[in-house]
């Protein structure tokens, strides 16, 4: 499978990265080289193999049902949460107007 400029533009739009014509044209052969190279995975016989997402056997734990059990991940830290926001206003994250 290979991508053309239109497809790269669509992917960039899905990924919310603005790209100019030059950049898109530059990326088409780069991505196609990489995609062509990963095609070789199609040779592998994967009959009956389950896809692996967790490599080391580990069970998901349940934590005690306690509010604010760990202060580091607890609530009540609004100022910390907002400390790095580019536009914090009135205790909220500010964004451009969404509703006309």
């Amino acid at each position: 499978m290979s991508v053309d400029k239109q497809t790269v533009a669509k992917i960039a739009s899905l990924a919310r990265i603005k790209m100019g014509d030059d950049e898109l044209e530059h990326l088409v052969p780069e991505l196609n080289n990489i995609l062509e190279w990963v095609e070789q995975l199609g040779e592998v016989d994967v009959e009956g193999i389950e896809p692996m997402s967790a490599v080391i056997p580990n069970r998901l734990r349940l934590r005690d049902d306690v509010i604010d059990a760990d202060p580091k991940t607890a609530g009540g830290r609004r100022d910390d949460v907002l400390a790095n926001a580019p536009a914090a206003e009135h205790g909220f994250f500010g964004v451009p107007k969404v509703i006309e």
């Binding site: 991508v3 899905l14 990265i17 790209m19 790095n84 926001a85």
Partner: protein, 493 residues
């Protein structure tokens, strides 16, 4: 006083404990060395006060007769992928420039609790995506090593290239690294130092800027196996804040170190004898076998049939996870915001991400977005996850025949900065020997073996069973004792 910068973790820790020198003297020496090495560009920010404060605390604890921590008096470099409270944390990306976390990552907190101090935040490939340290927004990192008779700047490897450069240049006794597909081992090999990636889950990922969450794992980089064992012991441990953290005790790796490999079987995977591998690398591999045999181990040939497919599988899985993880950089909660006059929310996202991410990061986000998109998910992502299962199964079957695997760390020695920048695929191939252990979540280490004919370091890699960092470290120690690699780069910076 400059002599102190020649010391490693163990020597500093023991010297501070014995009162041979103070922790403050050590911190001052390294702070000066860091300040004088700006040409390496190993640090994004320096934090001399942090190092001094930790040193003073260690000296006071000793004066008060208190028990000193495992890293007391040791100033280290912190890869700028770990969130550090109140200290800029960027992942070497413009999109996080100026970000000052309001919390401390678990791994860095563990190190401070053990008495270590911070010399500064180390440069890296942007979002840890790269194998040469040429993708940082804050400029390339230079290796302290140069080819004999040339002045060309060489790559320190990546992504933990600030870490490898600093430790090799003796401006830090040790540094943290992270390894997603070789980012500790490859730079360690390029710069003649040691680095270990533990079993996935040993070190908490909480507070580490995420790249590919099913692969990311932190580990130490230092100049000896003993130093790595000490520092890994301080970094590792169960953390309920990371859902994939291993709920297991941290063994006393340092205390149990032994270079006697009697009764151990070392596997030599035939598939690692790949086309394009330097003859010098193959020679060092042969030498490694002889060293481990001399340490009492039995050498056995093994097969890891899916080795060839590990790297292409990685270049689907890692970008897929990255495209998802990096969706958080939206110009709303932290980091850069690029909001042109009159632009709406969607434009703000796209402009911010266009201005904030570097080319390699964009490339990987696009690949990841593509392989996860409707209609391609099965052909790419699902197939890659199945191949990953086969790569892991290869290792499981190998453990029936051996206790640890010996292989080269990289197919070549370091290369000049800039020489591969237009060729992403060749760059990716640098991690061909490192990626299989990452996909399988196994502990793996690089130790320096020798210099090649250009005077550049070559590393050997050891891969162990899950949770068996000890055998990896033991085999590393056996190589270290026989390689007697005491080369240091000639100072030019």
């Amino acid at each position: 006083m400059t002599e102190l910068t020649k010391l490693g973790v163990k020597a500093i820790r023991d010297g501070v404990r014995a009162g041979d020198f103070t922790a403050r003297e050590v911190a001052e020496s390294f702070n000066s060395a860091v300040a004088a090495a700006a040409e390496l560009n190993a640090f994004i920010v320096t934090t001399p006060d942090h190092a001094l404060a930790a040193a003073d605390a260690a000296d006071k604890a000793r004066a008060d007769g208190k028990k000193l921590g495992a890293m007391a008096g040791v100033p280290i470099g912190m890869k700028d992928l770990f969130a550090t409270h109140g200290v800029q944390t960027t992942a070497a990306s413009h999109i996080l420039e100026g970000f000052e976390p309001q919390y401390e990552s678990t791994v860095s907190q563990n190190l401070w609790d053990a008495g270590a101090g911070m010399l500064g935040k180390l440069n890296l490939d942007q979002f840890a995506m790269g194998s040469s340290n040429e993708t940082s927004y804050f400029g390339n990192v230079a290796s302290p090593w140069r080819k004999d008779g040339t002045n060309a700047a060489m790559s320190p490897g990546g992504s933990s290239g600030g870490s490898s450069s600093a430790v090799a240049a003796r401006i830090a006794p040790a540094a943290t690294g992270t390894d997603t597909g070789g980012s500790i081992r490859q730079p360690a090999a390029f710069t003649g130092i040691c680095g270990i990636k533990p079993t996935y889950g040993r070190c908490s990922r909480w507070g580490v800027v995420a790249f590919a969450s099913s692969l990311d794992q932190a580990g130490p980089m230092a100049r000896s196996v003993e130093d790595c064992a000490i520092m890994l012991g301080a970094m590792a441990g169960f953390d309920p804040k990371d859902a994939t953290s291993l709920q297991m005790d941290v063994p006393d790796w340092e205390g149990a170190l032994s270079a006697d490999l009697k009764g151990k079987k070392v596997g030599i995977p035939k598939e690692y004898r790949m086309e394009g591998t330097d003859q010098a690398i193959l020679d060092s591999w042969e030498q490694g076998k002889a060293w481990l045999k001399d340490a009492g181990a039995e050498i056995v040939d093994i097969s890891l049939p899916h080795t060839k497919y590990a790297l292409p599988a990685y270049y689907i899985i890692a970008p897929a996870e990255a495209s998802s993880n990096l969706a958080r950089y939206d110009g709303v909660r932290y980091g850069l915001r690029d909001l042109p006059e009159g632009a709406g929310l969607q434009d703000m996202y796209a402009e911010t991400r266009a201005a904030g991410f570097g080319d390699e990061v964009k490339r990987r986000i696009l690949i990841g977005t593509y392989v996860l998109s409707a209609g391609f998910y099965d052909a790419y992502y699902n197939q890659a996850q199945k191949v990953r299962a086969l790569v892991a199964r290869d290792f499981e079957q190998a453990w029936a025949e051996c206790d640890v695997i010996l292989a080269p760390t990289t197919p070549t020695a370091s290369f000049p900065l800039g020489s591969l920048e237009d060729d992403p695929l060749t760059m990716y191939l640098n991690d061909v020997f490192a990626v299989p252990a990452s996909l399988a979540g196994l502990p793996a280490m690089s130790v320096p073996a020798m210099l090649n004919s250009d005077g550049l370091p070559l590393g050997l890699q050891l891969v162990g069973k899950p949770f068996d960092e000890q055998t990896v470290l033991d085999a590393g120690l056996a190589i270290q004792q026989r390689a007697a690699f005491d080369h240091a780069p000639e100072k030019w910076w």
